[in-house]
Amino acid sequence: MTYLISALCVAVAAIILGSRVMGSQNNVGQGYELQVLAAVILGGTSLLGGSGSILRTVLGVLMLAFIQNGLILMGQPYYTQWLVTWAVIIIAVWLDVAAKRGRLFSPIA
């Protein structure tokens, strides 16, 4: 059931994207999996399941979109946003994990 809903969302996204670029190729959406995952994780959803909410995911999507849009408006080439996303994902998840365990660095020796 969850996968059905996910697939329905993909189909809706595909129709929107198709109407925006007025056409389609067979490799449209390659690499989207990662951006989507990044946004969901930024929204605080646990990869192991059991926590997360749609509102937070929307915030995650918006945050990534702000970064991408802002960097392009600043005149940076499009691949700078990948570098920034790298840092943002790791720092965001790090702070989340650190807050849960109550200390900044991992206790593993």
């Binding site: 067979n26 990662l34 995952l37 990044a38 994780i41 990869l47 080439p77 691949y79 700078t80 946003q81 990948w82 570098l83 996303t85 790298w86 840092a87 994902i89 790791i90 998840v93 790090w94 994990v97 650190a98 365990r101 660095f105 991992s106 206790p107 593993i108 020796a109």
Partner: protein, 329 residues
């Protein structure tokens, strides 16, 4: 059935079912595809699988640790870009063919450095390796584009692009390098303290910490190893093409993980070996090569490989009892 299981070969195949699968597809394509069953083609398969195979060796270590590395494709592209570009730096202009040496060394160091960054972040922050390397996959690909400026590099030194055509006796040099790496990593995993610790950390991280294994540095070493192997694979791939493109190695992480999982390594860690991984890599290599020779279109090959992976995982779950770790018939 009872006396069949006494035969050593059958028992071995029951412990490593992927090799049975390799045998079946090999025999199938020998009959189904013309030109498949020849020494030349077997060498071709070995050369084609060496790229993914080298990374899969490192991925086996990382996955037995209970981690995963999604950034290998980007690391491969970065190393290939360095290997091809450094040769044409002005400071090495008078070195003749020796300019390849610093280029390859720098490329391999870059790979190790990328692995070290990943491993260090996993160690110090305690963030899941999936997320760390997912970010690195985007970020390192960004580094590739920054470094190359969206251009492809071409090797000006023809000794570099001729390297992949060299042979040692009847064997192509790329296949020999792959074979040496397989033996080296197999010995590392089965004969050394580091290898035993790899299983310990993946089996039960808490227990490994309590047993006095320095888990963080240990995982970092494994990430550096996979970075090195990905860079080596990138160098070898760029010798085959005589060029490095910024989109090189895209989706390789998925092929590698597929091969390693086919070889029986558990995604949750603690279980797996190099013999299985070699089987998984060869299975994918033979399937791709054989279907190419049968002129199956490339997109059907993807569908078939995906179905096989799901089928294997299903059968594995169905037949593999955790207690004895063997195939139940």
């Amino acid at each position: 059935m009872a006396n069949l299981t006494q035969i050593p070969l059958v028992r071995w195949l029951m412990r490593n079912p992927i090799w049975g699968f390799v045998l079946i597809v090999f025999i199938f394509f020998s009959f189904a595809a013309d030109n498949f069953f020849s020494g030349q083609n077997v060498m071709n398969i070995l050369v084609q699988t060496s790229t993914i195979g080298l990374i899969a060796l490192g991925m086996t270590l990382v996955m037995i640790n209970g981690n995963i590395d999604l950034s290998v494709g980007a690391t491969l592209a970065l190393a290939a870009a360095f290997a091809v570009d450094v040769q044409s730096w002005a400071m090495f202009a008078t070195w003749g063919n020796w300019q390849i040496l610093p280029a390859v060394c720098i490329a391999l160091l870059v790979g190790i450095l990328m692995g070290a960054i990943n491993g260090f972040i996993v160690w110090k922050t305690g963030v899941d390796a999936f997320i760390v390397t997912l970010g690195a996959m985007l970020g390192i690909r960004g580094l590739v584009f920054v470094y190359t400026g969206e251009q492809s590099f071409y090797a000006m030194n023809f000794a570099y692009s001729d390297f992949s055509f060299l042979t040692i006796g009847p064997f192509p040099v790329l296949a020999v390098i792959f074979a040496v790496a397989v033996i080296a990593v197999h010995l590392l995993l089965s004969r050394t303290v580091h290898g035993r610790n790899t299983y310990a950390v993946g089996g039960n991280r808490e227990a490994a910490v309590n047993a006095g294994i320095r888990v963080g540095p240990h995982m970092m070493v494994n990430f550096m190893l996979i970075g090195f192997l990905a860079a080596l694979s990138g160098v070898l791939l760029s010798t085959q093409m005589g060029a490095a493109t910024p989109n090189l190695g895209r989706d390789y992480e998925l092929w590698v993980i597929t091969a390693v999982v086919l070889g029986g390594t558990k995604l949750t860690g603690g279980k797996g070996d190099i013999i299985g991984t070699l089987g998984g890599v060869l299975a994918i290599g033979i399937l791709r090569n054989g279907m190419n020779l049968m002129q199956v279109p490339a997109f059907y090959v993807l569908v078939i490989l995906g179905s096989i992976l799901i089928a294997v995982l299903f059968l594995d779950k169905r037949f593999n009892r955790p207690a004895d770790g063997g195939l139940r018939l």
